[in-house]
């Protein structure tokens, strides 16, 4: 569970900095950061589910 907290911190930081380099206005940055974080989180979840599926199939 603690690993999830580390992951959330990392996703939040990367999303904020990435969005900060895309826009100038702070509102646009925050909106883009949330969208980026959702993309990252979604991609990681997909990979996790894929690996979980493989582990079940492999036994």
């Amino acid at each position: 569970m603690l690993e999830l907290v580390y992951l959330l911190i990392l996703i939040a930081a990367i999303s904020l900095v990435y969005a900060g380099t895309r826009y100038e206005a702070i509102d646009a940055i925050l909106v883009h950061a949330v969208k980026t974080a959702m993309w990252f989180g979604g991609a990681l979840l997909l990979v996790h589910l894929l690996l979980y599926g493989v582990s079940l199939w492999a036994g």
């Binding site: 580390y6 911190i9 990392l10 930081a13 990367i14 904020l16 900095v17 990435y18 900060g20 380099t21 895309r22 826009y23 100038e24 206005a25 702070i26 646009a28 940055i29």
Partner: protein, 185 residues
């Protein structure tokens, strides 16, 4: 100091160079120098916070400079140095270690490069926190490289800036037609 809120395109080379160096030394300082205060605060807290979190996880032992062909080549330091001043004590500590001096900061082993036995002990004591601390500090350094790019080249909008930011930049620049009319008079 450049005029407040001036875009990177409107600044000369030395202003940009100064801003880039400041951005490297202290995350967000380059943006503060350019008058982009809200982004300066955002980048400072995000990157410095990530770096400090990594240091705390690794108990100050994850940022060190070591390049020994037979022992360890610390590639991660090449990423961590992107954060600037918070990582530079590692270079001083490496020199102290080479001169067989102990401790850089008081009685703390922070930034001191560990030998093989010490490194094994660190992995044993800290487990995954050593790797996580290394990762967090390295990512902080790499993110600061993006920030330095933003200082020099401005936001990477993509095809075109959003409407509200297009409006701001057109209001900041003077209309060329009015100037030529005045010159003619």
């Amino acid at each position: 100091m450049p005029s407040t809120s001036s875009s990177p395109q409107q600044q000369d080379f030395w202003d940009l160079f100064t801003a880039a160096v400041l951005a490297w030394l202290v995350p967000g300082a380059g943006h503060w120098f350019q008058g982009r205060r809200s982004k300066a605060v955002l980048f400072f807290w995000t990157i410095t916070g990530l770096f400090v979190f990594g240091m705390v996880l690794g108990q100050g032992r994850v940022v060190y400079a070591k390049w020994h062909p037979r022992q360890e080549r610390r590639f991660f330091f090449l990423c961590q140095v992107g954060v600037g001043l918070p990582s530079l004590p590692a270079l001083v500590a490496a020199r102290r270690a080479a001169a067989n001096k102990e401790h850089l900061i008081g009685n703390l082993d922070w930034y001191m490069p560990p030998d093989r036995a010490e490194l094994n002990q660190l992995y044993h004591t800290l487990n995954r926190r050593f790797e996580l601390g290394t990762l967090f500090t390295a990512i902080a350094g790499l993110l600061n490289l993006l920030v330095i790019y933003d200082v020099c080249a401005g936001p990477a909008y993509g095809k075109r800036p959003p409407p509200e930011e297009q409006k701001k930049s057109s209001q900041a620049e003077p209309a060329p037609d009015k100037k030529t009319k005045k010159d003619k008079d």
